[in-house]
Amino acid sequence: MNILETESDRLLVAVRGLLAAKGIATPPEITERIRITDGGSPAQGARMVARAWTDPEYRALMLSDGTAAAEAMSIPMRGLPPLGVLENTEEVHHLVVCTLCSCYPRAVLGYPPFWFKSAAYRARAVRDPRAMLKDWGTDLPAAIRLRVVDSTADYRWMVLPRRPAGTEGWTVEQLAAIVREGDMIGVTIPKIA
């Protein structure tokens, strides 16, 4: 059998059977892991960002230990790579890419968007990042330093964007609603609709 030419459904059934037969993972464990993976979404990251914008103590925790900050919001992180959080400021803007594959903080952002895995994004993000950001409608002021974070190994990275002006007095729910996936990758910045 050539596994490269095997139907993916049949291959999945075979692998799941082998995992159970060899005692590596039971069917309930696999079901639980799928449930946790499906629970990851940009809404989770947005909740963290909104809380960091309103709670200085939480913000400090998020920047020093992203995994602990996610767990504090009841996001399951056990067995996952450590989460690092990159803070955008008046001086520096972060952009995350994985040039080698598609490393992504799935627990807090869900499945990576299709473009994150594209060769075009992965090449341009490191080679010509400011022009690429312009294509996203993100015109970075010249005074702001751009820091491209190539996620090549054991960490997973998310961006803590800057809170937009005009959101004073908003609730965390209102704030979370304006934080998009791209804001936490760094291709866009949060905007008030």
Binding site: R130, L146, T152, A153
Partner: protein, 92 residues
């Protein structure tokens, strides 16, 4: 352990030319010079993990590079920050 601020050069090594391998060092950084930002922790060597070999834990660093210097385009002052394992770094 490399202290933050240490100048390092990424080894100009191309193990992919010697045979099957799994490496987490991007090609565009081989031979380039950067600055250690911080030690991120110690993690099993992915080059062994990928082949189910016993994997020694190695120091992993965040290393900063000058983006326009590496790509000959871009804006002065912009940076690349990359996770690199200790065995890929040499004194610069």
């Amino acid at each position: 352990m490399l202290a933050p601020g240490t100048k390092v050069r990424v080894k100009n090594d191309w193990p992919e030319l010697r045979g099957p391998c799994h490496i987490r060092t991007p090609h565009y950084l081989r031979g380039e010079t950067g600055t250690v930002v911080r030690h991120l922790g110690d993690f099993p060597n992915p080059e062994d993990l990928a082949f189910a070999r016993p994997a020694e834990k190695l120091a992993l660093y965040h290393v900063r590079f000058d983006q326009p210097a590496i790509w000959q385009q871009g804006k002065a002052g912009d940076e690349l920050i990359v996770e690199l394992f200790a065995h890929w770094l040499e004194a610069a």
